[in-house]
């Protein structure tokens, strides 16, 4: 059975789509890791709403001008690494695809950036002179699915339309001229695709990201029905795993839905959260126990540290452990990679459902109170549910047990991933 699994995943991993995906995201990882560090410092330590800043009462002894300036710099690092990551994804995806079929990787990359920018043109901006007239959401790290697909497509256009390229060390100028002009045909085809996409977005007035996912998010934010909650949580996680992190981010940020506020008011009045009106609120179950940025990615990182032999993956896990503990697992998800990795898709979805259902069961048995009190951004994830229940020790013990269960669950899957990687590596050596 295990061998069969191994073979299936090995077979899938050999597909060009996934080979390109893994390479793209691993290449992007260093950049994201830098952004993750800045983000962690902001959301957990220095930001005005952050965890450490508040619990240490830092506002009493750190002057505002100092934290303002630090935040400014950190923000610049974060924006630089996250907000235009789509361009890099498009470039890398096209490049790796072209390379895989011995086509011109550089020109494919450039073409792919051109196509993406064309598709994401947004001329409705009030002041294009000072702000770029592009739809920022399409270029953001939280929307890399489209840039990736586009890059892969452009790479394939080069595969079909461009002549084969041998490897050249440092090509002569004359050779470069030839190569550049050979890219003209695929470039034009790609441009047409970009234009069609731009036109589609313009004609259908699609508010990319917001409108498309709003109903999904609002279901999760308002449903008290466990099955509905788990269903939308699974969908949201699936989207996150294929590069659409927007719904997860939206859930983590806004906790102002009517149901959540009603819960909080009830909890604050009673000083405990045993009798909140929406006990099984989807968003709270998900963000408290089952989201990638709560316990799930943390458990996976711990498993990698415990099980994997590859020193680079271990180093990545080491660097990602603390950010993930404070709720920022992005770099790790790209670097292992977890994004677009068929091996981790199933176990992560199962663990999300399991964590939510187990928590709901314990809520139903009245063994633990609901997550309802406000939590500071960047509170260490293992103790976040404890804080969100106004200090219920049962919940603290439960979250740690849950973390251990998740680690045990991931163990065989990480081992499977190791075996698959080994087979792929052996193949590539030959």
């Amino acid at each position: 059975m295990a061998e069969r699994f191994e073979f299936i995943f090995y077979w899938i991993s050999k597909k060009s789509f996934f080979r390109v995906a893994q390479r793209t995201f691993i290449t992007l990882m260093p950049l994201l890791l830098i952004g993750v560090m800045a983000q962690t410092l902001m959301t957990a330590f220095i930001g005005y709403d952050s965890w450490l800043y508040n619990i240490s009462y830092a506002y009493q002894f750190i002057p505002t001008w100092l934290s303002d300036n630090i935040l400014y710099l950190l923000n610049s690092v974060r924006f630089a690494s996250f907000n235009l990551a789509g361009l890099l994804v498009a470039y890398l995806a096209a490049g790796y695809t072209a390379k895989l079929f011995q086509k011109d990787a550089q020109m494919a990359g450039i073409t792919s950036v051109l196509t993406l920018l064309t598709a994401s043109y947004n001329g409705n901006q009030p002041n294009p002179a000072s702000t770029l007239p592009f739809n920022a959401q399409l270029l953001d790290m939280n929307m890399v699915l489209l840039p990736f697909l586009l890059g892969y497509l452009v790479g394939n256009i080069f595969r079909w339309l461009a002549p084969k390229q041998g490897h050249q060390r440092f090509e002569q100028l004359a050779g470069l001229d030839v190569r550049v002009w050979q890219a003209a045909k695929p470039m034009l085809v790609a441009l047409v695709i970009g234009l069609l996409l731009a036109l589609g977005i313009y004609l259908f007035k699609t508010k990319i990201s917001n409108a498309v996912f709003n109903s999904l998010i609002s279901t999760e934010l308002s449903t008290n029905n466990i099955l509905k909650g788990v269903g939308s949580a699974l969908l949201i996680t699936l989207l996150a795993l294929i590069g659409i992190g927007y719904p997860v981010v939206a859930l983590n940020n806004s906790n102002n839905s009517g149901a959540a506020v009603a819960n909080m008011n009830n909890a604050l009045i009673h000083s405990n959260s045993w009798q909140v009106p929406y006990k099984y609120l989807g968003s709270e179950l998900y963000t408290g126990y089952a989201s990638l940025s709560s316990l799930v990615a943390l458990a996976l990182i711990i498993t990698v540290l415990l099980v994997m032999h590859n020193r680079y993956k271990r180093r990545l896990a080491g660097f990602s452990l603390f950010p993930a503990m404070f709720g920022v697992p992005t770099g790790f998800l790209a670097g292992l990679p977890v994004l677009f990795n068929p091996v981790y898709l199933l176990p992560i979805l199962i663990v999300v459902a399991f964590n939510m259902l187990l928590s709901a069961l314990l809520l139903w048995l009245n063994w633990i109170p609901a997550v309802a009190f406000p939590v500071l951004v960047g509170t260490p994830q293992p103790i976040a549910p404890f804080v969100a229940t106004n200090g219920s020790w049962r919940v603290l013990v439960y979250s740690i047990i849950l973390l251990v269960i998740d680690v045990c669950w991931f163990r065989p899957w990480v081992k499977l991933d190791m075996k698959v990687q080994e087979r792929v590596a052996n193949d590539e050596k030959e």
Binding site: W51, N54, I55, S56, N265, L268, I269, S271, I302, L305, L306, H309, R311, R314, R315, A317, G318, L321, F322, M325, F373, P374, L376, T379, P380, Q381, P382, I383, F386, V387, N390, G391, L396
Partner: protein, 287 residues
Amino acid sequence: MKKNKGYWLILLALLLSLATIYPTYAWMRDSNKEMSQRRQSKMTPVIMLPGSSASINRFNQLVTLLNQNRKEKHSLLKIQVDQTGKLTYTGSINRNDHQPLIVVGFSNNHDGYSNIKKQAYWLDEAFYQLSEDYHFRNFVAFGHSNGGLIWTYWLEHYYHSYDDELNIKRLMTLGSPYNFKENSIKMKTQMYSDFLKYRKRLPKHLLAYNIYGGESYTSDGLVPENSVLAGKYIFQNQVKSYMAINVTGDDAQHSSLPQNTQVVNLFKHYLLDKDKHRLRFKLQPRR
């Protein structure tokens, strides 16, 4: 990285997050307690601002009239804010008083837009302290003359930092010259243009009352009617409701407005609850 190092790292992470339980817990307990006090608070203070050149004693007569024939008197707290933002208190709030009256006055009580901006800042100093001390969730605002302008400025520039926790229910301005001495809406003063510019920041749920006196047909003796009525373009279609009320007869002159009988009745009707004892008596079932 050796394998052992991984174990240490995990251990360190878990220990660190457990070590922070106490400070996190302490902070959480304090903050939840404060939020819960605010949620449970039934107090709705009426915060009153006098106009330019007036002291914190400006509303003494009004308060006396408001408390006439009431079993439960409203308590009165006066706060003087000096130019450095230091607060001096006179009077106090009764613990059981659900609707205390709070007067905030400024040592620099001069007229002019630049002073109004400063006064709004000083108001905010006093307001912040009040919100910390009394944990109220709702409040009602009243301003005579320039006091109404200070409130409007404060609502447009300071209120947003409280609006998660606090809620302004009603705003009553009395003879407030939104366009200063200008008689025509076409001549916009800098202040009025700014009020219009930031009007979108006014809270949507606010009930606004704009009362003005009529000594002559066009003014209350000091402030032109059209300057007061210019408030319409600030509040109407932005807040939940806006009502302009013209008061004439005795004491309709600008400076007498706070003790005008009709104004006192409007104040009672729109800003205060009915006398509690009487209400309870009325609601008792007949036997």
